[in-house]
């Protein structure tokens, strides 16, 4: 893991994979949770961490709240740096960090 990258927990990896499916697409919190297969309401700490690292950017939805009859949502999207960093971090996350301590002997025929 690169210095300063997020801790690549399974939920973090799921969120990053969901966002990387279409990096140009903007999603709000509930959509991110649904795309990542995580319970809604649990993704905000991950999003905040990624936004703090500048991997994500967010903006308020521009709608007429009266016409839409609902408040504006906060949309998240990967930044250009975030796309590269996320892909690299996910690739590294697959790699085992340590050599196996014990390898059982294979039986010779």
């Amino acid at each position: 893991m690169a210095d300063g990258g997020p801790r690549m927990t399974i939920p973090t990896q799921l969120v990053l994979r969901a966002l990387l499916e279409d990096p140009q697409r903007e999603l709000y919190g509930v959509e991110v949770g649904a795309a990542a297969g995580l319970p809604s309401g649990t993704v905000h700490p991950i999003l905040a961490r990624l936004e703090g690292l500048r991997w994500l950017e967010s903006r308020w939805e521009e709608i007429d709240t009266r016409a839409a009859a609902r408040p504006a949502r906060r949309y998240y999207r990967l930044t250009a740096d975030g796309v590269q960093s996320a892909r690299a971090a996910l690739a590294r996350a697959y790699r085992p960090s340590r050599a196996p301590r014990f390898r059982p002997a294979t039986e010779q025929p």
Partner: protein, 132 residues
């Protein structure tokens, strides 16, 4: 049928979650959490708002960490190592004191915190992994 508005109880719950957050982020997340309730069924709203509340401290920690900047990897390992040592999970390694001869020369030292293990008896010569 999806209600057009957010449930009042759920709104209060997510607003309570936002009150846990640092002052500069409180309003943003209160608005964001409430906006997310719209378009959900009441049941989903209840589940969502409870989960938001349960993760409020984690969100606060994430926001605090973001304000402090990224933690270098070495420092993160040190922190985790300190925690493991604090919990009694030391990383014991065998060392030999050249000034002392015999079996007393062998001692165990934690690689992370530098603590020396008391009352360590080295295994008798010839034994492998404590007799395994």
């Amino acid at each position: 049928m999806t209600p057009p508005t957010a449930d009042r109880w759920c709104c209060r719950t997510v607003q309570l979650a936002a009150r846990v957050l640092p002052a500069e982020h409180r309003q943003r997340y209160a608005l964001e959490f409430v906006a997310e309730l719209y378009g959900m069924s009441r049941r989903q709203q209840v589940s969502h708002s409870v989960q938001v509340l349960s993760r409020a401290w984690a969100l606060r920690a994430a926001l605090d960490a973001a304000a402090l900047g990224p933690i270098p990897e070495k420092a993160r390992h040190r922190t985790r190592g300190w925690l493991l040592c604090h919990l009694g999970r030391h990383l014991w390694t065998q060392h030999r004191n050249p000034d002392v001869g015999g079996k007393d020369a062998v001692f165990l030292l934690c690689l992370r915190c530098g603590r020396e293990r008391q009352g360590y008896e080295p295994p008798p010569p010839g034994s492998v992994l404590g007799g395994l």
